[in-house]
């Protein structure tokens, strides 16, 4: 792609296409290429390889400022709220997170707070069995707050330090469903005044520009602390994370790259940018 010695119009076209197709967004893509073009005119870049390197560096830098304290490093008791739109991977990721944190010395409990969707509780219970994790569940149709309270309370009673709360998928356009989320933190505090709360937005890497609106709304509703980017094992690049981080200051905490329990890892921004250019 950039092995040609000459930097010409087709280089810029290819770079624009590559960035655009990664879902980085049109204004960001055009702005980045424009900036690289200026550097070429100013003679600081001379070859396609140099142009690509300059772009890579800029992208790495734009994500590098994020240094979230990951769940495994947080002291004290934790309540992790897993939120996001329908089908993004919350339930699967809740299970992955449970296994991941146990391997790092934490003790976990899963809360089946999706009391709405068909077999959502069953789904989490299967994962609970597979990971040897207790699952606190309510009745189908029961109140989200009640399950959260019971789970946080149970963890405290059983001496477990981490509660992972799997919530129902919801489109951010549904105000009543978003309002339902907004009471989560208060409920958890009632059950355990000393619990540290983290809300993570589970975002599908195949999502396009709508990701920014999703992140905005979930940030407003439940003060999301970070993103878990799922399904990066597909061909989508997840370029929306640049806008989400730059405009909302929401960093990526973890990445889901498959359907197995072990397919979860901390976000590596260097590897992520390198994958963009593949």
């Amino acid at each position: 792609l950039f092995r040609r010695p000459v930097l010409d119009e087709s280089t810029w076209d290819e770079l624009t296409q590559l960035l655009m197709e990664s879902d980085i967004g049109p204004s960001r893509a055009f702005r980045l290429v424009e900036h690289a073009r200026e550097m070429v005119e100013g003679e600081t870049l001379k070859t396609p390889v140099e142009a690509e390197t300059a772009l890579r560096r800029q992208l790495v830098e734009s994500l590098g400022a994020a240094e979230p304290m990951l769940l495994e490093d947080q002291p004290g008791r934790l309540a992790v709220h897993m939120v996001g739109v329908n089908g993004s991977g919350k339930t699967t990721t809740s299970a992955k997170l449970s296994a991941y944190l146990r391997h790092r010395g934490r003790s976990t409990l899963l809360a089946a707070a999706d009391t709405f969707r068909a077999a959502a509780i069953d789904q989490l219970q299967v994962w609970g069995e597979r990971t040897g994790t207790d699952v606190i569940a309510g009745q189908q149709g029961s109140d989200l707050g009640a399950v959260v309270f019971d789970a946080v309370h149970a963890a405290r009673m059983r001496g477990l330090d981490t509660v992972i709360i799997d919530t129902a998928g919801r489109l951010h356009t549904k105000t009543n469903l978003m309002d339902e989320l907004s009471k989560l933190r208060r409920v958890a505090t009632k059950a355990d005044p000393d619990v540290t709360q983290v809300a993570l937005l589970v975002l599908d890497a195949t999502t396009g520009q709508n990701a920014l609106m999703q992140a905005k709304r979930f940030l407003e509703a439940v003060q999301v602390d970070g993103i878990i980017l799922t399904k990066l094992d597909g061909t989508a690049k997840g370029g929306v994370v640049f806008a989400v981080f730059e405009e909302l200051n929401l960093p990526i905490w973890y990445v889901g790259s498959g359907e197995k329990l072990t397919d979860l890892a901390p976000f590596d921004h260097l590897a992520f940018v390198n994958a963009l250019f593949r």
Partner: protein
């Protein structure tokens, strides 16, 4: 929105006198931005804008008193033309007709299967749902639960049998029980997972569906093209169902998929409920993509 942006561009250019081809190029940049922001694929946008430019230059835009409106009108017409008309479900051949649902993980296949079953029953068909996803935890339970809710029979063999075997047995059962339509809910899979795509081909080969529908999320970004191309190559899609249209994603993926595979858009998923399935209207979807 696009009309406003074009209006301000043209009013700025108007002051110099008559509009030129160069001015149209400026307007095309706005159209391009708007469609890219709507998640229409980069290459699809290139071709699309080239067509719009041609029509804009050849048409009345240069002489129009309202060039912005003219351009938007052309864009809208081209979108509608590309999206095509809504197409009904094809249930031809010896009963039971088979509808196979396929797509990426989490796109809405299982929920859509139930929605289709309800729709078909309302159309006096006798649907049978088939739980052919043995991979996802409680996927079978999910479909069984939905079937019970709707009082539609579900064929399942738990997770111990392989999906092609389940489908073959389900077809036999459907013939015996006189069901007229069989709806296959398959596991979500990646278009780059060769083994899973081979499984889908196998299921298609033995069930000979009259409809092979790609179930795709309305919020899908640029990758929609690649996904649709691969699925189409593997199992010859006959239609598209776009889900989660009740969100606020512009839905450009629909345009990309349509352009690249040529398959008609059959339905839109507009809620999580079993009645949340609507026929697609090209005019409305074009409006939404335009923003």
């Amino acid at each position: 929105n696009l009309t406003d942006r074009l209006t301000s561009i043209f009013s700025g250019l108007r002051s110099k006198g008559a509009l030129t081809e160069q001015d149209v190029e400026e307007a095309m940049r706005e159209v391009r931005m708007s469609l890219l922001e709507a998640d229409v694929n980069f290459r699809v946008v290139k071709d699309f804008v080239a067509r719009v430019k041609e029509r804009s230059i050849g048409g009345d835009v240069l002489q129009s008193l309202t060039p912005a409106q003219q351009v938007v009108k052309i864009v809208h017409e081209e979108l509608v033309a590309l999206l095509g008309d809504a197409a009904p479900l094809r249930l031809d051949g010896q009963p039971p007709a088979v509808i196979m649902l396929a797509g990426l993980q989490g796109s809405g296949k299982t929920t859509t299967a139930a929605k289709l079953a309800l729709l078909l029953r309302k159309q006096k068909q006798l649907p049978l749902l088939v739980a052919a996803d043995t991979y996802r935890p409680a996927a079978v339970d999910q479909l069984v639960y939905l079937g019970k809710q709707l009082d539609v029979p579900v064929y399942s063999e738990g997770t111990s049998s392989k999906p092609p075997v389940i489908v073959a047995n389900a077809l036999r059962e459907a013939r015996t029980a006189g069901r007229t339509v069989v709806i296959l809910d398959t596991a979500g899979r990646l278009h780059v997972d060769n083994a899973m795509m081979e499984e889908l081909r196998e299921i298609g080969a033995l069930s000979r569906p009259s409809e092979t529908l790609l179930v795709a999320d309305a919020m899908t970004g640029q990758d929609a093209v690649r996904v649709a191309e691969q699925f189409h190559e593997s199992v010859s899609l006959t239609g598209l169902i776009l889900t989660k249209v009740d969100g606020d994603a512009r839905g450009g993926a629909a345009l990309s998929i349509r352009q690249v595979t040529g398959v008609p858009i059959k339905f839109l998923g507009t809620s999580e409920k079993p009645d949340g399935l609507e026929t697609f209207h090209p005019d409305r979807l074009a409006q939404r993509i335009l923003g």
